[in-house]
């Protein structure tokens, strides 16, 4: 009798493709192509610019490429697939209408003349007005490509401001709180400033006395996030700003947490001289993966002369142009302006999305957004606070910081808990930030999650805390259900492999 041995079925199902999607270079075979490319010759190209060796690009058919990226997308976790409580990042849902409106502008050229882009300028001008209004500032530049570039822009403007007053040499220090985002001291250092850190007090505010102790005629400015990175409103923010102003310094607002304040409080009213907007956080433009982003900078009138050029000008007849270049030439450095930071309107497509979001919600809707974000965070905290330590026992704003110090002693760290959440179907919160909280788990649910999702996330956090108490080893062994497990993040950081190399 012949024994039929069943052939193993090639595992092309979810588990296989999920386990490892080959790289395009590994899928490629010489001679494959998605299109027939005509050889049009190189006669027109000067000899010195002609390539001598073939370009080593992967060669694949169109369906191979489509399947590759579809598989990768299937492995991805995104706001479109689930809750993303990454603290300090405001991972709110991005409404699809934003992309539709942005696509209307896709065929415009960034260097197109102002005569043929009146609608673009009108939108940009109106967006500037809306951002100024909601931040309580007077003027806005849309140029910066991200929050960090906005910080750089502002600090260059601080420098120009102090130089104008003959104090450039004297004012060489910038102060940041110990809870600051890492970009704050980095931007200050890039501008040539020395950085002084000021500690937080027992309530998680900037320690006002410590701040006053370090302020002096050598201080150019102070950089403050409000609500701060602990998710707490700075209770003495007016006094903080006044103290900096008394010392002749300027106050920079890191607008990363603006979502909590929308329509409720305005940095301009609190004493800030400028504030940046992370449109990808507050106004629902796409997030992460290196951009493109946008980080408009909103300033008080005293900083206006130093704003990047060109500025958009609205004439009485409702037409628009650039102030420096009616002929659409590149702007020369003009007057006291620091010059151009990113050409003209920055990453315009992203700004259209932010504009769309603001217009869709209106003033009432934006205020409700801020209030709902705060409500969601407080509701979530109430559900989990008896299982985890809370860094500061105060009413948080749009996010809160738990400490897994208790769980660490029981045998599972914040990182282990973050990975266990992946098994529960959630993206992890931010971990180990801010630096002043041990075993920090920083949770920001945003206003876009329904109550059922908040309940499910809280239940997952509670289940994990219970499991840490009972069987910490099981939590340390997570994640069990993800396409890949136990990734070696330490090895990846110590010995990164950044380029594909052809196997020899």
């Amino acid at each position: 009798m012949t024994t039929l041995r069943r052939q193993p079925i090639p595992d092309v199902g979810a588990s296989q493709t999920k386990a490892l999607e080959p790289l395009l270079f590994e899928l490629a075979r010489p001679g494959r192509a998605g299109r027939h490319v005509r050889d049009e010759g190189t006669a027109d190209i000067p000899t010195q610019f002609r390539r001598t060796a073939p370009l080593e690009l992967p060669e694949l058919t169109e369906p191979q490429v489509v399947r590759h990226y579809t598989h990768l997308a299937q492995l991805n976790y995104a706001v479109d697939t689930g809750m993303y409580p990454l603290g300090s990042c405001t991972m709110k849902y991005n409404p699809k209408i934003n992309d539709r409106t942005a696509s209307l502008f896709a065929d415009l050229h960034p260097r197109q003349s102002y005569q043929t882009t009146q609608g673009v300028l009108a939108l940009a001008y109106e967006l500037e007005q809306m951002l100024a209004k909601i931040t309580g500032m007077d003027f806005v530049t849309l140029q910066p490509a991200a929050g960090a570039q906005s910080e750089l822009t502002a600090l260059l403007m601080f420098k120009a401001y102090h130089a104008k007053r003959g104090e450039a040499a004297q004012r060489r220090r910038v102060i940041v709180p110990d809870s600051a985002h890492g970009t704050n001291p980095a931007s200050a250092a890039m501008c040539g400033y020395q950085v002084t850190t000021v500690r937080s007090d027992a309530r998680g505010n900037v320690d006002l006395e410590a701040l006053k102790g370090t302020l002096g005629p050598d201080v150019a400015g102070f950089m403050l996030t409000n609500p701060n990175t602990l998710g707490l409103f700075e209770e003495r923010v007016r006094e903080v700003c006044a103290a900096v102003h008394d010392a002749g310094g300027l106050v920079y607002g890191d607008g990363a947490n603006m979502n909590a304040l929308l329509g409720v409080a305005r940095p301009g009213d609190l004493g800030f001289d400028c504030v940046h907007i992370n449109v990808h956080k507050t106004f629902s433009t796409p997030h992460g993966a290196g951009g493109p982003g946008a980080g408009p900078l909103c300033v008080k009138a005293l900083l206006r002369p130093f704003l990047p050029k060109p500025w958009i000008v609205r004439e009485a007849d409702g037409t628009y142009h650039y102030d420096t270049a009616r002929e659409d030439r590149d702007p020369e450095p003009v007057g006291d302006s620091i010059g151009s930071i990113k050409q003209r309107l920055g990453n315009f497509g992203v700004l259209v999305r932010a504009y769309t979001y603001m217009k869709t919600l209106g003033e009432d809707g934006l205020a409700e957004t801020g209030r709902d974000a705060v409500l969601a965070a407080n509701y979530l905290l109430a559900l989990v606070r008896d299982r985890y330590d809370v860094a500061y026992d105060r009413t948080p704003m749009h996010e809160f910081v738990l400490s897994a110090a208790k769980q660490k002693k029981q045998g599972a760290s914040a990182l282990d808990i973050a990975k266990a959440l992946l098994d529960e179907g959630f993206h992890s919160p931010t971990v180990y930030f801010p630096l002043i909280v041990p075993e920090a788990l920083m949770v920001e649910p945003t206003e876009t999650e329904p109550k059922e999702t908040l309940d499910a996330f809280a239940a997952a956090l509670v289940r994990i805390a219970d499991q840490v108490a009972r069987d910490p080893a099981a939590v340390r062994d997570a994640p069990k259900n993800t396409p890949l497990r136990h990734l070696d993040e330490v090895g990846a950081a110590r010995r990164p492999v950044l380029r594909w190399q052809r196997p020899t």
């Binding site: 180990y432 630096l435 950081a493």
Partner: protein, 134 residues
């Protein structure tokens, strides 16, 4: 290995100093490496650089955070530990041994007196006296 060896002086910022004549060897403590987690990158100043007490000396980066290293004493850099730059994990495995970071020529031996004794450092990190190790 004791987590706070008795023959060293300590800074509040969690650096240790071993003085041998006018040469001081500097590293970060067992407590510091434990707080940081797996160290993935160490940046240290070149030989010949002058450092001032309590000013930034370099950077140590872990999977959790990037932190400044502060000079516990002033002086001129005599040597930086190339091994720890190539193998940052030495900071975790041997913080007081092969995980040392720099050697400086002491500018002012009196500065050593401003540092914490092992007993004081133990209470600084909330460890009971004599309870060495993890």
């Amino acid at each position: 290995m004791s987590s706070v060896p008795d023959d060293l002086r300590y800074s509040k910022e969690h650096e240790w100093v071993r003085a041998d004549g006018d040469v001081a060897t500097i590293g970060i403590t067992h407590f510091a490496q434990e707080q940081l987690g797996d160290v993935v990158f160490v940046e240290l100043p070149e030989k010949g650089t002058a450092v001032r007490q309590f000013s930034s000396l370099g950077v140590v980066e872990s999977v959790k955070a990037a932190s400044d290293i502060y000079a516990p004493v002033s002086g001129e850099i005599l040597e930086r530990n190339v091994k720890v730059i190539e193998k940052p994990e030495l900071v975790n495995t041997e913080p007081y041994g092969d995980g040392w970071m720099i050697k400086v020529r002491l500018a002012n031996e009196g500065e050593l007196a401003q540092l914490l004794s092992p007993q004081d450092y133990r209470s600084h990190i909330g460890e009971t006296a004599g309870a060495g190790g993890d």
